[in-house]
């Protein structure tokens, strides 16, 4: 007899099989759900509550979502990559299905009724003849301290009633009624306030530090210095700001690392020592029929996460134990880095998540947690809250990497693509805490016993980092894709929403548009002709239909199309942009069609797509980190402008229903396609191809002057 192979558990559940780590059912009539993924404004908590309530057959008001903590939550790695529904959602659905079955089995014993005769309504378990019990009644008799078996099947789609509905987000009422839930609003009585001294000159080290005037500030508790790390601790925020200012006045900075020439990033990116990786190849032998090759170079600048809230954390030492409150996207990985820096076992550290503002990737959240821990060591027993300044947030948090992309497309005599080479130059897009040496936290590089700062690494395919979305989705007969990862990192880079996907899709979709237009083929038709995936075709067809693609021309107005399947494995998104280009570019309307598989909360999906589309518009038209050879000069909102209400396009979204398909994250799907669609619409309006982001008035004027 063959032993049946153990059933395959969803990835998050396989890593955390204990049912009680995900779910607790209380005799008081509620269900506590503990996901390892965290709320970052994407509505994940509500979507997960919907999945749990649906699978358990309880009203959603009975579901209490617990904040993630290393003391109690499953370890789900990082909340990133639009994977929360795929990972946490699948695991939770599985857990709830299994818990439901465990309770049904117990109820069956209790009531003397066969399981398949039982029904559950809002936690009440009913059998024939009106016999009832409930989750709540059975809760204390059932231990969920057991591992998931994996042999339970979740409900069929048709029997799900909450999933697929636009349930209102459970975190929103608190946010409109000023009930504090942000970490920035958390300062329990007795909390002290810390500020950390950071250089304005990039890479400069702290030298002499005169502390007298900072110590003279009323309310100062301590000044901490450890090598190049220094900070103040005060009774109030006001005092902490004053003491930090005084400390700045007493600081001498030594050295620094020169920054690239901002106006010639392409030369910088191409001239650095780099690791070359061939990402993907297809075909091979050169096609003899190449009639000409179109080579184009595209670029994007460094982009800031630019969270509306500066990063913030609280930490408290009690003897050898440390408690940290953080808005990190990865509490367990942060804990490993903290332990490494402090030389303590991870068990001595509890890291607990609290919501911060939207981060869109790896911002200062993890760094500020170490800042708080280092300061709080000096105030044993009293929590220290550290909040960065706006300038710190804009200059010391990691940036989305600048990129240079070159595409060479070989065309045959009929203009068909027969060869394709896509080359990327830039820093890697990953320097998050990852559990590996050295720790990735900013202050770790400043301490007396400093850890080195490595050049950012890169996620491997299939998701990819800088190379995300660089492998063509079109069925060209041959291609080669390569990435030159820079080994120097004068400007610290890490994950920013969509990673390399934005620039790669911009490059691919721009050159596709160019090839189609040169041969007077409709760009939508060209794409459809090269796509076999029906779901890809469906979003292009839906977007162009909804936007009444290629309708009557109006002067100064252009339309452009952009398409991608995020990470080549995630959500599909096609976008038609309508721009007005008179003097400067104004995006008037974006029409999106998206296929995210099963949409757990359709309004949540739309919200994420809209947000991605607006952020992409902001990146495409306005955003670039400014710097001189010594320092980042984008220190605030006037030197790093982002899109404003008066500049926001209308957004129309077609969501293609796919309730029978695996759910795919929506938050990053729009970034590349929107950027590309805007660029192509600018060409449609003005007849010039803009290949360097952002699309500024100055760049357009240059292009138009050179074209005439």
């Amino acid at each position: 007899m063959n032993t049946p192979s153990p059933p395959r558990l969803p990835v998050s559940l396989a890593a955390n099989p204990r049912l009680s780590s995900w779910l607790k059912i209380s005799a008081d009539g509620y269900v506590a759900v503990s996901p390892g993924k965290v709320e970052i404004g994407q509505g994940i908590i509500t979507a997960l509550a919907q999945i749990a309530a649906d699978e358990l057959d309880v009203d959603i008001s009975r579901v209490r979502m617990q904040r993630a903590s290393t003391a109690s939550s499953p370890n789900e790695g990082v909340t990133s990559g639009s994977l929360s529904i795929q990972q946490s959602g699948r695991a939770l659905r599985h857990v709830c299905a299994e818990v439901r079955r465990i309770f049904l089995a117990k109820a069956s014993d209790r009531l003397g009724t066969k399981i398949d005769m039982l029904d559950i309504q809002d936690g009440t378990i009913k059998g024939p003849g009106n016999v009832t019990t409930s989750y709540w009644e059975l809760a204390e008799e059932i231990s969920l301290d057991r591992d998931a078996s994996g042999d339970t099947t979740a409900k069929p789609v048709a029997r799900r009633s909450l999933v697929g509905r636009s349930v209102e987000r459970i975190d929103i009422p608190g946010k409109v009624f000023a009930q504090p839930r942000f970490i920035q609003d958390c300062a329990p009585p007795g909390t002290l306030h810390g500020r950390v001294l950071r250089p304005e000159i990039s890479g400069a080290k702290l030298g002499e530090l005169k502390q007298d005037s900072a110590y003279a500030v009323a309310g100062i508790v301590a000044i901490v210095r450890d090598g190049g790390f220094a900070g103040v601790i005060c009774e109030t925020e006001h005092a902490a700001d004053a003491a930090l200012k005084a400390l700045h006045g007493g600081a001498t900075w030594v050295g620094g690392e020169p920054l690239p020439v901002e106006s010639d990033l392409a030369s910088f990116l191409k001239s650095q020592p780099a690791d070359l990786t061939v990402i993907d190849t297809r075909g091979g032998a050169a096609y003899p029929a190449i009639s000409r090759t179109i080579r184009r170079q595209f670029s994007r600048p460094y982009i800031a996460h630019a969270s509306i809230a500066p990063s913030c954390a609280l930490a408290r030492w009690d003897g050898g134990r440390i408690h940290v409150w953080t808005h990190s996207q990865a509490i367990y990985l942060q804990r490993i880095d903290l332990a490494r820096v402090l030389g303590l076992p991870v068990e001595d550290i509890t890291v607990e998540h609290m919501e911060g503002a939207g981060c869109y990737g790896h911002n200062g959240a993890d760094d500020v947690a170490l800042d708080a821990v280092l300061l709080a060591r000096a105030t044993q027993g009293r929590a220290v809250r550290v909040q960065w300044s706006r300038a710190d947030e804009m200059t010391h948090a990691p940036f989305g990497a600048a990129m240079l992309v070159e595409i060479a497309a070989d065309l045959d005599a009929r203009g068909e693509v027969v060869g394709w080479r896509h080359s990327i130059w830039g820093n890697g897009h990953t320097s998050r805490p990852d559990g590996l040496e050295p720790p990735k936290l900013l202050a770790a590089t400043e301490l007396k016993e400093a850890f080195p700062r490595l050049a950012a690494g890169n996620q491997r395919q299939p998701s990819g980092g800088a190379d995300r979305n660089s492998v063509p989705l079109y069925d060209f007969p041959s291609w080669q894709v390569e990435f030159h990862r820079l080994l120097a990192m004068p400007i610290r880079t890490s994950a920013l929403r969509s990673l390399g996907g934005q620039c790669n899709v911009f490059a691919i979709e721009s050159i596709i548009d160019e090839i189609a237009c040169e041969h007077s083929e409709d760009p939508a038709a060209f794409r459809l002709r090269h796509l076999r995936d029906g779901r890809a075709r469906a979003v292009i067809e839906a977007a162009t239909k909804r936007a009444t693609w290629k309708s009557e021309r109006q002067p100064g107005i252009g339309h452009g199309l952009g398409f991608a399947r995020y990470k080549n494995t995630g959500a599909y998104c096609a976008v038609v942009a309508e721009v007005e280009a008179i003097g400067e570019v104004r995006v008037k309307k974006l029409t999106l069609a998206a296929d995210v598989g099963e949409a757990i909360n359709p309004d949540g999906v739309r919200n994420q797509l809209e947000g991605g589309a607006i952020q992409a518009t902001s990146w495409a038209l306005k955003e670039q980190v400014r710097f001189d050879r010594q320092r980042i000069t984008s220190t605030g909102w006037s030197s790093y402008p982002i899109i404003r209400f008066s500049e926001i396009p209308d957004i129309d979204i077609v969501l293609i229903p796919r309730p029978d398909q695996e759910p795919l994250g929506a938050g990053e799907a729009a970034l590349g396609p929107v950027t590309a669609a805007i660029g192509n619409a600018v060409f449609d309006a003005l007849g010039v191809r803009i290949r360097d982001l952002p699309i500024t008035r100055e760049r357009l004027v240059d292009l138009l002057e050179n074209a005439s």
């Binding site: 970052i40 404004g41 994407q42 509505g43 636009s166 209102e168 987000r169 975190d171 929103i172 009422p173 946010k175 409109v176 009624f177 000023a178 504090p180 942000f182 920035q184 609003d185 109030t236 925020e237 006001h238 630019a306 969270s307 509306i308 809230a309 500066p310 919501e355 911060g356 503002a357 939207g358 869109y360 909040q387 300044s389 706006r390 309004d603 949540g604 919200n607 994420q608 809209e610 947000g611 991605g612 589309a613 607006i614 952020q615 902001s618 605030g636 909102w637 006037s638 982002i642 899109i643 404003r644 209400f645 008066s646 926001i648 209308d650 957004i651």
Partner: protein, 156 residues
């Protein structure tokens, strides 16, 4: 230190503090309010907005002394879960946020707009909110929510 008096969310309030400190700092650290948020400290993002008199202003670069005798409303004074302001109801109905950190300032700007212009057009709403930044891209929902609240208020 001189005592600064003002009316805060309908209540007479007196503060003994350095009059050069920002109103935001006083509201948050001395008076325990968390509605107004710190965003930039330079009056550039609007997340700290409060209503002074009838106008939405940045509280982060408003010195405490300038609050003397003023009528100040923060998000805490706009409404409550039990007695929500139409704007609060509308922001829930339109799910008009993602992270929500900027929303308290935006609600205050919107409330000030509706006091001055009870039936704004979409463009007027956008103009009134143009000094409020939202990084998540919830702008269109926010505009819809303000228009919804205006309709509800004018319907009585």
């Amino acid at each position: 230190m001189p005592q600064i008096r003002f009316r805060l969310n309908g209540t007479e309030t007196a503060v003994d503090a350095d009059p050069e400190r920002s109103l935001l700092d006083i509201l948050r650290s001395e008076l325990g309010l968390t509605g107004p948020h710190f965003g930039c400290g330079a009056g550039e993002c609007g997340t700290c907005n409060v209503i002074v008199g009838n106008r939405a202003v940045n509280s982060c670069d408003m010195p405490l002394w300038s609050a003397e005798g003023k009528d100040i409303t923060t998000l805490e004074g706009l409404g409550s879960a039990e007695r929500p302001h139409p704007l609060q109801r509308a922001f829930i109905a339109e799910q008009a946020m993602q992270c929500g950190y900027c929303i308290s300032g935006i609600l205050m700007s919107a409330a000030a707009l509706l006091r001055q212009n009870p039936s704004p057009s979409a463009d007027e709403v956008k103009a009134a909110l143009d000094r409020n930044l939202c990084r998540c891209g919830s702008h269109n929902r926010i505009v819809r929510a303000v228009l919804r609240a205006a309709r509800e208020m004018s319907a009585g």
